[in-house]
Symmetry: C2
Subunit: 172 residues, 2 copies
């Protein structure tokens, strides 16, 4: 209401329903979160480094307050209610899973990622652990959960996901 300068009634008249309004608000919040999380990924050449960039964006770029993640807030708040909103959150999550899965699959084709990597599971693991850590960090008003998760996931990508070419290993 502050943004539009409209009264509450006026704001509702612009949308079919309160649910519709909540869904539009979600889209707006999500677009900005998605841009923030994917910044610099396209210009990063290596697939594993793209995943690491995503993790760094999630942990380092964000102010701890306010807001949290639109997907998580919606997942929990609309869990047994607003279906329109829940569908928006599912679609947003799926956009994220598709992005990360695609990066890993491209990495396998380019021999930057170990061939036996389960791209979809890795995507879910990265998203789950970061989102969980964000919620814990917000509850504790302390970044430790986020920084521990970043460290663990970066190490995991180096030790279990990155395919090192023989020549690179030989050169150190």
């Amino acid at each position: 209401m502050k943004v539009t300068g409209l009264e509450k009634g006026g704001l509702y008249r612009h949308f079919a329903s309160k649910e519709q309004l909540a869904a539009e608000a979600f889209d707006f919040a999500w677009q900005s979160a998605f841009e923030e999380r994917t910044r610099g990924i396209e210009s990063t050449p290596n697939s594993v480094d793209k995943l690491k960039q995503f993790i760094a964006n999630f942990v380092d770029r964000r102010p701890l307050m306010p807001g949290g993640c639109p997907i998580f807030n919606t997942a929990i708040e609309a869990d047994d209610g607003n279906r329109l909103l829940r569908d928006r959150a599912r679609r947003a999550l799926s956009q994220l899973v598709t992005l990360l899965t695609g990066i890993t699959e491209t990495g396998i084709r380019r021999k930057e990622v170990l061939a036996n990597t389960d791209a979809a599971s890795l995507a879910l693991l990265i998203i789950s652990s970061l989102e969980g850590a964000l919620t814990i960090s917000r509850l504790e008003r302390d970044r430790r959960a986020l920084t521990s998760t970043r460290t663990y996931m970066q190490e995991h990508l180096e030790s279990h996901v990155r395919l090192r070419s023989l020549s690179r290993t030989a050169n150190g």
Copy 2:
């Protein structure tokens, strides 16, 4: 209200405020969640196996619906509101962190866990990743996020946390 058989007004009169009522409801939900998550841990001798038991309880014992985690629900829903409730959720989280940190520290003393393990970070990592996966699984109505996280965390415990005695390694 169903449980107590009281009318809404009657229920509120039993508690100092709506906030107090929400806090009591949280305590009740948390006690049951805590019991479920810690089942079998005390009777498991090895520290790493205790952590694995905690993960297994979290992923396997729980029905996917309904409810989710009281800490997470509260962390998100009381983020900018009910302070009494937020404090309850923080205390519950801290109970969990203390439990897992203690298991790891005992494991270090008993030479079951690698001496350089950061017990508090490991506790936060386990909790964050499981809680995140639970929320994702509930949003997707699909257990994949939970089972991927279980697999990765169990592997992490075996490869980066468990201290294998020389004799055990020699005997296979």
